[in-house]
């Protein structure tokens, strides 16, 4: 019941702040979904479980946002497909120095910044495309 006291968004970010990354899986149709919702986007069921994804994913697309060095320098933004079949926006935190490419294997990690959790990815191995 404690999980039901908060909505799925608050619960997601509360867990994330504890360093735990969880996504929803529908108890009815077994499909995963991201971002967290109050209903299953696949079948409409409201019976949703939380699971810990393996963290393994593949870069679906990426961009490097250009920023002046004095403002913090360039940074990357990626879309990543988790092995569970859901997509999210994130960034490559470590291992992106030698290049980011579509199809790159990455793994999820929760970074804690200013008390909030943030899902980031590390390149599984540093290779060129």
């Amino acid at each position: 019941m404690t999980d039901d006291i908060k909505g799925p968004e608050a619960r997601y970010f509360e867990k994330l702040a504890q360093g735990i990354f969880e996504i929803q899986r529908c108890a009815t149709c077994r499909e995963h979904q991201f971002f967290p919702r109050a209903l299953c986007v696949h079948c409409g069921s409201t019976q949703l479980d939380w699971i810990k994804p393996s963290g393994a994913g593949t870069v679906y697309s990426y961009s490097v946002v250009r920023r002046k060095p004095e403002a913090g320098g360039d940074y990357n933004v990626i879309l990543v497909d988790l092995d569970e079949g859901v997509r999210l926006m994130s960034c490559i935190d470590k291992g992106g120095e030698n290049g980011i490419f579509i199809g790159q294997k990455v793994s999820a990690r929760v970074a804690l910044r200013n008390g909030a959790g943030m899902v980031v990815f590390d390149a599984a191995e540093v290779t060129d495309a």
């Binding site: 970010f13 679906y60 990426y62 490097v64 250009r66 879309l79 999210l88 926006m89």
Partner: protein, 388 residues
Amino acid sequence: MLEAIRNKVAIAGVGVAGLGQAHGYTEMELLAQAATKAVADAGLNMSDIDGIATCSSSATMWAMPVIEYLGVKPAFIDSTMLGGSSFLAHLLPAMHAIVSGQCTTVLVCYGSTQRTATFGRKEGVKARALLDPQPYEQPYQPLSPITSYALAAQRHMFQYGTTRRQLAEVAVAARQWAGLNLEAFMRDPLSIEEVLEARMISDPFTIRDCCLVTDGAGAYVLMASDRARQLQGKPVYVSGSATAVWNRQISAMHDLTVTAASESGPRAMQMAGVSHKDIDLIQLYDAFTINVLLFLEDLGFCAKGEGGAFVENGGIAPGGHTPVNTNGGGLSCVHPGMYGIFTLIEAVRQLRAEAGERQVPQASIALIHGNGGTLSSQSTAILSREPT
């Protein structure tokens, strides 16, 4: 069936104001100028307006101040906000309202001082993050909306071998059309190399892959076709109109190379009873160069993945095989926050043969297409000089 209202409503007048830079004016003042011109262009008075469609990027109750400012008392009010496609999405509900007799004359209007306002794009992005949060994307600081479109471009390049050079062709074609349009904001010649070598913003986009930030206002008047024919001007018929939305966030888009234009396009063309060979000119919302490739493909003017080849060698430039964005588009003509209404205004001018140096010969049927959000909302319409 929607075919029953095909050509039943016509655009009787259009107007623009404050294109480019409009120092010292509010967006409402520009809107009112464009609205006044559109109403006069139709040969009407503001007191004839009994329907309003409008929306704003910042004011959520925008229809009310517009009604108050113009001094109208509309029986039909639509303030649906779907981003830049809104003013094309406003077509079909207005047609229903006119055909059913809810009202007789609808004014669709928009104004923005995005370029000169003290409260500009930067503040707008910041305010929206608070008022309309996207907590699953904002922490990663995508440039809004540039990075979202850049992600789509990168994926298109990966999947179909599309090149930055092909994207640059879109910007160069827009600039060549703008060179023929005295209203356009940027008219200097532009080369593919200049696009590629411009300042990189969010890979693979340089600043020249991105639309302008200008001021500007646009308006048009809709009424029953049989009434419009009795007025002074040349009516342009609304033959088909359709809107589709599949998602809001780019991260929630299933396939970044296929937009909901692939749904709105066929629906609009079916309503109009036209096929691709009937289309004489195309106006597409070119917020970024990739948009034009995606929409040419999704609207069926070429196969998926072949948009790059379609625009190569000046394919959509003046003198090319297909006239696209003949005013210079959002890339070179005007882009005041939301560009959609200008696709319609340019098509009307072309269909009335009032486009001067950039006139497409024998322009009879136009396809116009608006986009909103981050490839989120798509609205297509077919306009024609004679009923289709």
